[in-house]
Symmetry: C2
Subunit: 408 residues, 2 copies
Amino acid sequence: MSNCLVAQSGGPTAAINASLAGVIDAVIKSNTYDTIYGSINGIQGVLQHKIISLNSTFEDKPDAIHTLMTSPAMYLGSCRYKLPSYEENVTQYEFIFETFKKMDIHAFFYIGGNDSMDTVDKLNEYAKTIDYDIKVIGIPKTIDNDLVETDHTPGFGSAAKFVATSLLEIAHDTYIYDIESVTIVEIMGRDAGWLTASAALARNDYNHAPHLIYLPEKPFSTFAFINDLNKLLKVKKNVIVAVSEGIKDDKGNYISATTAAEDKFGHAQLSGTGKALEQLVKSTIGCKVRSIELNVLQRSAMHISSLTDIKEAFMLGTEAVKSAETGLSGVMLTLNRDNTPDYSVSIGNVAIKEVANQAKSVPLEWINEAGNDVTSEMIDYLRPLIIGEPNIKYKNGIPDYLSIKHLI
Amino acid sequence: MSNCLVAQSGGPTAAINASLAGVIDAVIKSNTYDTIYGSINGIQGVLQHKIISLNSTFEDKPDAIHTLMTSPAMYLGSCRYKLPSYEENVTQYEFIFETFKKMDIHAFFYIGGNDSMDTVDKLNEYAKTIDYDIKVIGIPKTIDNDLVETDHTPGFGSAAKFVATSLLEIAHDTYIYDIESVTIVEIMGRDAGWLTASAALARNDYNHAPHLIYLPEKPFSTFAFINDLNKLLKVKKNVIVAVSEGIKDDKGNYISATTAAEDKFGHAQLSGTGKALEQLVKSTIGCKVRSIELNVLQRSAMHISSLTDIKEAFMLGTEAVKSAETGLSGVMLTLNRDNTPDYSVSIGNVAIKEVANQAKSVPLEWINEAGNDVTSEMIDYLRPLIIGEPNIKYKNGIPDYLSIKHLI
């Protein structure tokens, strides 16, 4: 028997540990691999010799597996490290594969988003060139829901549930005062508006907020925005707006004032879109205005995660192990929505080349004509993803998550 | 039989509807009052004829009472209206008491914070001058926990549980990267540091964050802050800081850059303390730094409220009705911590004059010598207040709160 390796990469989500739990559970229950190793801080952990065995922590410990499933962020830590191409720097690849040989590692499960799938692709391609037998499987996750070829991504449903719940609670908070007000809620999503769209799930019998929703897929006009607000303020006291951090004007410039910084993958680092609009409303309309940035709680608020999301993430983990066992490599697993009246999904897979370094935007037909709301098709697509509440254990009044002292 | 009136005022909390549920439940179960009226938007509702009967919505409907108990913000709406003294403007008092007479109202329950207790006091005093028989009872609430003469205030425990849980989840989010970082979490509390102190409840076996805690009760020195950070960054990768929005320098100036606005009670409106410190760290230390403002979710996140808090708030509501029945007036009910090994409280009351327009700060002996943490006495005081999780119902993936369409 040989060994296998698992790692996590990119930004955290509430569901990324559920996929890890699925991988660990499946490896422990099958007879294919002796040891399941975890690399700390993604592929960087292999380059830095930070590899731990996971068997003793999880073998015969269903409680630990359950707690891992319901713990936020990343048990194995993360990285934002982009592997150079092997033509550019073959030394890193040689080092990685020497480690794999020494540790008898013949399967590598990488749980991550867009940039992580790039790593999966590169390792799979390099393995072929040296004829090393390894199955490299990508397991998707991202709160942005912007991976192509999958109906949706693990982590998105939980983030969407947090956003929808927070919007409803902010609405309750807002309606109590008998004065005109505009509340602007800034939601994550650099280039794709999926998470901002999920604010619409806060609507119910009595609450129609958010009354306006702006996604980055359509150019944002400050003139139209103020016009939209003025129209609404004629008929309602409190207007609540959901806005993506990544909205841009018709020239492609971010509305946010602070767009200078870029991360290592060349993505602009945004913040302040809500604040910028708050200032605009203050100076043009002049009513009470507040902006709220939901910030990292969107991706880390495990306590309000979606059971559907957590279960699917776990299932993807177990399926990844089965896929490696059946000889697949260089693929990312996908969630395919079944064509049934009740929501259900099947797991498929796609060649990693089809997904790496690509992004899935919100289809324009799911945004209304005026560009200030989403359609009912969008809501029908989103709703099933936030259903169900996992059983979170508490100790001393706070969630009893799995210890990550090995990261601290 | 006569009638009674209930209203809510000030900023929302997760527990203020539980007190309302307690009042309604007790009135319906007793034979003292025929009708229980609710004033919409606090005392303003009386001045504006916005008074509704609550009997039909809640009589023989234990489910509605339970849902009200676990719904955020204020079912009856709020106001920030400060009654003038009756020497200044007797017309308003005459109008209010004519309404009371017409509607046969002989008990008034006002659920609120500091400023609301001022209203209770004034109404009670005016009633005496015209010899009108009414029992005016104040029921405390505020996430700030700054009312005097009560061990703690309803609403605080739930806000503290949200803060502690969020801090733990932010810590999980922060520890995943293998790079030096400073995370600054800005917490509500204009003049009192109770809520910021509760960030310490996020600490457990493996998590020691927040590593630094700054309350408004001690002058804040930017020099000492950078010094504290530099010392910690020598021994740990990720430093997490909890800071009150209301910290001031030794001259009494708010650290926040935007301190111009004041609310109607003359309180400075703060925001941006976290952002100001983020800029400071960026320019002096230069490592990765992020600031997070927990914002209104602190007071509205019912889904992560404290069962202890909700139960106590309900109990205060029922006790308020009993107090009026026994002839008390011009008092605020209080929570007194019993001197027992296990946490329990008894309900008392205090003359409203002893509490109105006063504020309870954190005692300096519960802040450490260096002014950058709280003591174990503080943690022992806080811990019992966040214990337990109420049963929140969900529908379509979001909390199934009580409709507030009468406010919208």
